[in-house]
């Protein structure tokens, strides 16, 4: 194999590995940030008898 062929082979191998690396992440976890206020839940009385069963 000439020099150009070796270079091409090396670049190709790197590309394949990068693609494999990107696709081998295994399907759990998100980690996306959301910045929306949640309001105050700590100082409100709750009518427990309205908390009906599913």
């Amino acid at each position: 194999m000439n020099t150009q062929g070796k270079r091409f082979g090396c670049v190709l191998a790197m590309t394949v590995l990068l693609l494999l690396c990107g696709s081998c992440s295994n399907g759990v976890g998100v980690g996306m940030s959301v910045s929306v206020p949640v309001g105050d839940h700590a100082h409100v009385s709750v009518h427990t008898n309205q908390w009906v069963h599913p």
């Binding site: 992440s25 996306m32 839940h41 409100v44 908390w51 599913p54």
Partner: protein, 302 residues
């Protein structure tokens, strides 16, 4: 321009390529192995998306170190570093061989308002198509869409302001055996809504749910189902001062004991178990950073 200059490297470039190439390959393999080493052997996945099912839950917290101690103490979770959607620190929690949740460090808001929350992700067939339905039905987008480890995800804001995630997993959704109700696991997800009828129509449109109305002594309860499986619920908000919100329920053996433990770990008990409150089977607490969670006795009904 002499194009041959680009096609034939000189002796120095050739030597560098030959010497550095193997090292670069090794470095790439090592970094790949270190980033993706989660062990999913204890979980099984469906081939097709389980539409409407909560397939993942992230805790977004401004104080991850304290949250880690809290959930480790409360549920026995262990945490592992993982790759998140951005550059913020992200971990996943594991219990008995199953990954149960994620924990993302978030920056405090500039206006000082609280934002720590549990964020569930609902399985949908097509995230982008669901987002189009959100925009067409007076909702908004809180995050994404973005491609992450799990697949394609986004977060929506429903017409009442409640926030929830949407996801299309790329390897299939955790099946119902993997997510069977268990202590320390998420066992139910429920929307507290001031306009339950409108909310049900919204989620039917966006996710594809069927809605089953159950008449109960305290009012109507709406089950959100798909393919005959109950995936979530809508409860008319029993606390008028609370903002509409999605609540995440975690299985416990004894909600009273767990509520006390939560308090001892720095959390706040908002509602202790009471005979008036689903027959004493639940407690509502906030973790140290203010995120709400419900402690649900397993099995749920006496």
């Amino acid at each position: 321009m002499n194009m041959s200059h680009f096609g034939s490297p000189g002796p120095l470039a050739h030597r560098l390529t030959m010497r550095l190439g193997p090292w670069l390959l090794a470095l790439l393999l090592a970094s790949c192995a270190s980033m993706h080493k989660l062990d999913l052997s204890g979980m099984s996945f469906s081939r097709e998306p389980l539409i409407g099912k909560v397939i993942w839950n992230d805790l977004l917290t401004e104080d991850p170190a304290t949250a880690e101690r809290f959930y480790s103490g409360l549920f026995g979770w262990t945490f592992e570093n993982a790759s998140g959607a951005g550059d913020r620190a992200y971990k996943v929690a594991r219990l008995n061989g199953t990954y149960v949740a994620g924990m993302l460090s978030i920056a405090p808001r500039g206006d000082g308002q609280r934002q720590s929350r549990w964020l569930p992700y609902l399985s949908v067939a097509d995230v982008d198509r669901s987002l189009a339905a959100v925009m067409a039905t007076h909702g908004g987008i809180a995050g994404g869409p973005v491609d992450v480890s799990l697949g394609r995800v986004a977060a929506l804001i429903d017409p009442e302001g409640a926030v929830i995630g949407l996801a299309r997993s790329k390897i299939g959704d955790p099946d119902d055996a993997t997510t069977a109700p268990a202590v320390g696991h998420v066992v139910w997800t429920e929307l507290l809504s001031n306009q339950a009828l409108t909310a049900a129509a919204f989620y039917r449109q966006v996710v594809g749910y069927d809605v089953q109305v159950l008449e109960r002594p305290g009012g109507n309860y709406r089950l959100l189902t798909h393919d005959g499986k109950s995936r979530a619920g809508i409860l008319t908000n029993p606390a008028q001062g609370w903002s509409p919100a999605w609540l995440t329920y975690f299985g416990v053996t004894d909600p009273s004991t767990s509520a006390t433990l939560a308090q001892n770990l720095g959390g706040q008990v908002l509602m202790r178990p009471s005979p008036d409150l689903r027959d004493g089977t639940i407690a509502v607490v906030a973790d140290p950073s203010g995120a709400l969670l419900v402690l649900q006795k397993i099995p749920p009904m006496p």
